[in-house]
């Protein structure tokens, strides 16, 4: 379809870069009374990807919501990316998405074909995930936004949080980094067609394949790498788990074109927010500034960060690479010695 509306021109921030910073979020919620329930297995306190509520000894409900302004101009692709990103939070908890609701904001003058395409992208991706969309809510807003509220299921004993890593765990990442930088460069029409195709392909890849593999192994912690960047999410995992994390920078797959943009100073605002949040906890070692920037880059629909028992690591990696060829073995969790939480090694 010929796309007359340039969707990204209507967006002030790109994708997960529009996320409110981790530190700011904690301040906004500070002082609000939090009620608990014995069946609430995962709540807000650990900054996890989704909440998990036990219904029975066999079944727990996983709930999450995610939406953002256009990150690409094609409305179908945007809808599908937003859905992929929203569904990811359920996979990150080890769950399977089943039901979803559309969350949508559209300008009053947006052509209905464009809105239709955006929704069609969302529905197609939900179906690919084995979930159904059963309704939703739409409001008028000059800046378009789209996403899903997703409900999934997981066995209560098999919930994967971002705070269960233990010393010795081996860390895997299932998608390369640099998506946020590429989509930022695309706003100035700097991204090559090959770079944009790669970014879109990554953002459209469900984390289902990675989830289906990891649930067969002794995974202690998992999260999806999105708005807070790899180092932001690693910081949350390390703090929540009471460990420190060591990353082998050379083993982390950095999209070459994005690294080039990072060197040129084409960096999203969210990268700087992530730095402000996580940098006090990071020992960057000898890592070059542009490489560090890539590790703080906010990802939209990024991959899973998985911490697995070292005895399972080789087998998991082999099966993971078959299902998700972009998977990488990037580091380890170690006993916390006080001080910094994240260490970068060249």
């Amino acid at each position: 379809m010929e796309n007359e509306v340039k969707l990204t021109k209507l967006a002030s921030c790109a994708g997960c870069g529009a996320k409110v910073g981790a530190g700011v979020l904690a301040q906004l919620l500070d002082g609000i009374r939090v009620r608990t329930d014995p069946n609430l297995l995962v709540g807000f306190d650990k900054s996890d990807d989704a909440s998990v509520y036990r219904i029975s000894d066999e079944l727990a409900l996983v709930q999450t919501v995610d939406f953002f302004p256009p990150i690409v101009d094609d409305p179908y692709v945007f809808g599908a990316i937003a859905a992929t990103n929203a569904l990811s939070d359920v996979y990150a908890m080890g769950g399977e998405p089943k039901l979803a609701l559309n969350v949508m904001a559209i300008p009053a003058d947006m052509p209905k074909e464009v809105v239709h395409e955006m929704l069609r992208g969302g529905y197609d991706k939900a179906y690919e995930a084995g979930a159904i969309i059963t309704g939703g809510h739409s409001i008028l807003d000059p800046e378009p936004k789209y996403g899903l509220a997703v409900t999934g299921f997981v066995h209560p004993d098999r919930v994967l949080t971002n705070s269960g890593a233990v010393p010795g765990d081996v860390l895997f990442l299932t998608k390369p980094l640099g998506i946020g930088i590429l989509t930022t460069a695309a706003k100035a029409e700097l991204t090559t067609p090959a770079g944009m195709t790669l970014a879109q392909k990554l953002m459209l890849t469900l984390n289902r394949g990675a989830r289906d593999v990891m649930v067969n192994y002794r995974v202690h912690a998992c999260t999806d790498v999105t708005g807070f960047g790899l180092l932001g999410h690693c910081t949350e995992m390390a703090q929540g788990s009471g460990v420190e994390i060591h990353l082998d920078v050379n083993a982390i797959d950095l999209i070459p074109e994005a690294l080039e943009f990072a060197r040129m100073g084409v960096l999203p605002e969210g990268m700087y927010r992530n730095r402000t949040f996580a940098e006090p906890h990071v020992d960057a070692g000898e890592a070059a500034l542009a490489v560090q920037d890539m590790l703080y880059d906010p990802q939209t629909s990024g991959g899973l960060l998985i911490a697995v028992d070292p005895q399972d690591a080789d087998e998991l990696f082999e099966e993971l690479r078959d299902a998700v060829p972009s998977a990488q073995r990037i580091g380890t969790a170690e006993e916390y010695r006080g001080g910094k939480r994240i260490f970068l090694h060249q």
Binding site: S12, T184, A185, K187, A188, L190, A262, R263, M264, G265, V266, L267, P268, E269, Y272, L289, A290, D293
Partner: protein, 67 residues
């Protein structure tokens, strides 16, 4: 003098890149309105061998690049 106020990232750094590629100035002054732009332009300028200083002027930031 480049005035890149009111422009969101990455436009200000792209404006500086274009000027450097076209005219290779020994000295360049850039006015922006966010620290993100200051950081982005500083990264690019260092890559191109410029020294960078900036001052705050009300809500604006004025960068001076020189070789």
């Amino acid at each position: 003098m480049i005035d890149a106020r009111g422009l969101s990232c990455p436009m200000p750094v792209v404006m500086v890149q274009k000027e450097v590629q076209k005219n290779a100035p020994q000295e360049l002054t850039v006015r922006v309105d966010s620290m993100v732009c200051v950081e982005n332009i500083t990264r690019y300028a260092h890559l191109q061998g410029y020294e960078v200083q900036y001052t705050q002027d009300g809500g604006d930031f004025v960068l001076t690049l020189h070789k």
